[in-house]
């Protein structure tokens, strides 16, 4: 399976997927307490719909907003609302959240139900509008990491009709295997979700992109596609293993050979990209009416006792999850929500898992690259960052423009096209935190723009 479709640029970080790729998905029992941030998506944050002291059922809405670009939040457990207020958040630091104390006498935890879906699943029995409504009601968001409300994505736009649905099964980040296990174990559920999404978004063709380091998943998905009886519309695309293949724009480039214009989103060229986990959750939401309250999380890294793929209630704190997964075995240098390339380091172990948390990686000193050589040295203009930038940018120029307070210059080098994949920082022999500087520049740019008078 050499060759395969790909995109220009990119890097080959060590994969470390062997830690968890053979671990079947395990159900994690509900913790004694869950913290549900009211902002787990892109768009308007939710308002709490419950108050302190209220009793909530499993699957009950605890936060909602009227805005179109938003998604409600549901409780994964039955119990009592302990507090509504500021709580830790992996991205925002602190954010409004509902804390629920689990009722110890509550009925059994929600278990995944992939057996409910078979090859004979027929999406035609569901109307497109019904699917979209279900996606909203279940609080579905893009589970690959961005957290864009699925309902908004599926909405057909007459001005920009969507023609192709690309299903993202790349999982190019090192360490992470949650999507891989999902494709392997819940294959029929994923395919059912893919077909529902295609029906809701009214697309003509479906392409499922999987990297060639997951031959078993490719095999399983191919078999499921063949048996589902619409193989002329669904195609499984084998992609060359390279980081960041799972990025939306790079995936489109590899699968369709087309380029999404800078500053625009895939619908501009008639493409819709969805993650496999989102598709699986969509199937559950539409067929079983189940809200998004649990997700598969890869708990991995050299510092965790029992690495694996866990079916975790959203809102469970990282600390509780560490305890469930055998605790830390050695001194963890860095706890990263997500993978090591794009994930965010956290230090507060009471931070909860959200709908977009695909993995928690516990890194140790010997894996955190360059900690021994952390001191950056001057740029030697070797150009490696240019060679690997998947967007064809000049990362060192942008980073240095930001470093020396020249925002206009950074802007001229297309700073805002950068998607912060981290490839440039990864290859930089001088250990310059290029991505960090570009990210800083983007924040400064956004602030300056906000402050400009209308």
């Amino acid at each position: 399976m050499k060759g395969g479709l790909t995109f220009p640029g990119g890097v080959h970080p060590p994969e470390y997927k062997d830690l968890t790729e053979d671990c079947p998905i395990q159900v994690v029992p509900a913790p004694s307490q869950v913290v549900l941030p009211l902002s787990q998506h892109i768009g308007t944050p939710c308002r709490p719909t419950v108050a302190k002291g209220d009793t909530v059922q499993a699957g009950q809405v605890v936060g909602d907003a009227d805005a179109f670009v938003s998604a409600p939040v549901h409780s994964p457990v039955a119990g009592k609302v302990k507090a509504v207020g500021l709580a830790p958040h992996a991205v925002l630091g602190r954010c409004q959240a509902v804390t629920i104390e689990t009722d110890p006498n509550a009925p059994d935890d929600k278990a995944p139900s992939p057996q409910r879906f078979g090859a004979d699943f027929n999406p035609e029995t569901y109307a497109p509008e019904q699917i979209r409504q279900a996606a909203r009601a279940a609080g579905l968001v893009g589970m690959g990491g961005a957290g864009f409300p699925t309902r908004v994505k599926l909405e057909p736009n007459p001005e920009q009709p969507k023609k192709v649905l690309i299903v993202n099964g790349c999982e190019c980040e090192p360490f992470i295997t949650c999507d891989y296990r999902l494709m392997l174990e819940w294959t029929d559920q994923v395919i059912a979700g893919v077909r529902l999404a295609a029906r809701a978004a009214e697309v003509e063709r479906i392409k499922i992109g999987i990297e060639d380091n997951k031959p078993q998943a490719i095999e399983a998905v191919r078999r499921a596609v063949e048996t589902c009886g619409m193989d002329e519309r669904i195609e499984v695309c084998v992609l060359r293993t390279k980081y960041p293949q799972g990025s939306e724009r790079q995936l489109i480039r590899a699968v369709l050979g087309r380029h999404v214009p800078s500053g625009q989103i895939p619908p501009a060229i008639g493409v819709l990209v969805m993650n496999v986990a989102t598709c699986a959750a969509l199937a559950e939401a539409v067929v079983l009416g189940a809200p998004l309250t649990h997700r598969v999380v890869t708990v991995t890294g050299p510092a965790i006792g029992a690495p694996g793929n866990y079916y975790v209630p959203v809102g469970m704190t990282v600390g509780d999850l560490i305890e469930h997964c055998g605790g830390l075995t050695e001194r963890s240098a860095r706890v990263v929500l997500g993978g090591p390339m794009m994930g965010l380091a956290i230090a507060d172990m009471t931070t909860p898992i959200t709908k977009t948390t695909g993995a928690i990686t516990f890194l140790v000193d010997r894996v955190v690259r360059g900690d021994r050589l952390a001191r950056p040295t001057p740029c030697i203009r070797c150009g490696r960052c240019l060679a690997v930038c998947p967007e064809g940018l000049n990362p060192t120029k942008i980073a240095h423009a930001v470093m020396y307070e020249k925002p206009d210059l950074a802007e001229q080098y297309y700073m805002n096209v950068c998607m912060e994949c981290g490839s440039c920082s990864f290859v930089c022999p001088a250990h310059i935190e290029l991505t960090g500087y570009i990210k800083t520049g983007k924040i400064l740019h956004a602030r300056a723009k906000k402050r400009m008078p209308p």
Binding site: L86, G93, A347, D348, T351, A374, E405
Partner: protein, 294 residues
């Protein structure tokens, strides 16, 4: 005799050139004279005068590119009077005099106040941060320090200050009010919007130096000198109000007085402090409030 002959000979040959030069010179002089009269630019003496009255540091606080652009603008539109922060009331009065306007009252000069008083040893940290040492970068991470509302101490404001009036002292941005011109660059640079431009109606202002929206218990856990929104100060003086999890002082109405002093002394965390030129040092962190006589 021979010398004389040579001079005469020279003159005989050179006189047309000399005459031509003089004629040309006179012609151009007349031309320039006419041009200077015909094409005269009407320079407004007022602009010159206003420019002379301005501090000439081109800080940009007025919203214009520099002092000369502001001088032009203020002469054209006297409503823009009083925009010069470094010059303050004195400059405004001088400009008003030049423009023969009268200034009503004259607003107090705006100066920055950092709404945090927590030094590194007063704060809770979950881990050590080893990334790019800029507030903007650090602020993008969730847990650089426990408090999400306090000063980060990487000095984005210090870099923005062009008058050396800001320094990070033990992890806290501290304004040197002797050097500060009030241009407001620091307030724009702070990613946590902690620095606010406040009109200093007095040389020294009393403020509640905290913006933590956390509840009292959490604030206490995160910082020794945070506002826990207990409301003790609000009971002493109506200048204090508690909202969004922290107390604030109404700086516009602030008048030094006994009620404020008592509030300051009673504050359980010592978060009420003086800011300004020669402000007395705040109560050391962790020191118990004074038992004020009732």
């Amino acid at each position: 005799m021979e010398i004389l002959g040579q001079i005469t000979e020279f003159w005989r040959q050179a006189w047309p050139a000399a005459v031509t030069m003089i004629a040309l010179g006179s012609a151009f002089a007349v031309l320039l004279l006419v041009a200077s009269l015909k094409l005269k630019v009407q320079a407004d003496p007022k602009v010159e005068e206003v420019l002379a009255a301005l501090p000439g540091i081109d800080c940009g606080a007025c919203g214009f590119a520099g002092c000369s652009s502001y001088a032009k603008a203020v002469v054209a539109d006297p409503k823009l009077l009083g925009r010069c922060a470094p010059g303050g009331a004195a400059t405004a009065a001088r400009i008003a005099e030049i423009l023969s306007l009268s200034v009503g009252g004259g607003s107090a000069p705006a100066r920055p106040i950092v709404y945090c008083r927590s030094h590194t040893e007063d704060r809770l940290f979950y881990a050590s941060y080893s990334g790019i040492d800029r507030c903007t970068t650090a602020n993008a991470l969730a847990n650089v320090q426990a408090c999400k509302f306090g000063c980060l101490g990487f000095g984005d404001c210090v870099r923005a200050c062009r008058f050396d009036a800001l320094h990070v002292v033990d992890g806290l941005a501290t304004v040197d009010y002797d050097k500060c011109t009030g241009c407001g660059a620091c307030s724009k640079a702070c990613p946590r919007n902690l620095i606010e431009m406040v009109p200093f109606t007095h040389e020294v202002m009393m403020v509640v130096a905290c913006r933590s929206r956390e509840d009292g218990k959490t604030t206490r856990a995160m910082c020794k000198v945070g506002c826990i929104a207990c409301g003790l100060c609000a009971r002493q003086s109506d200048l204090f109000t508690v909202e969004d999890g922290y107390a604030r002082m109404d700086t516009e109405r602030y008048e030094p007085g006994e009620a404020c002093e008592t509030a300051m002394a009673k504050c359980p965390t010592g978060v009420i402090v003086y800011r300004g030129k020669g402000a007395p040092p705040p109560r050391p962190a962790g020191q118990k409030p004074a038992r004020a006589a009732t």
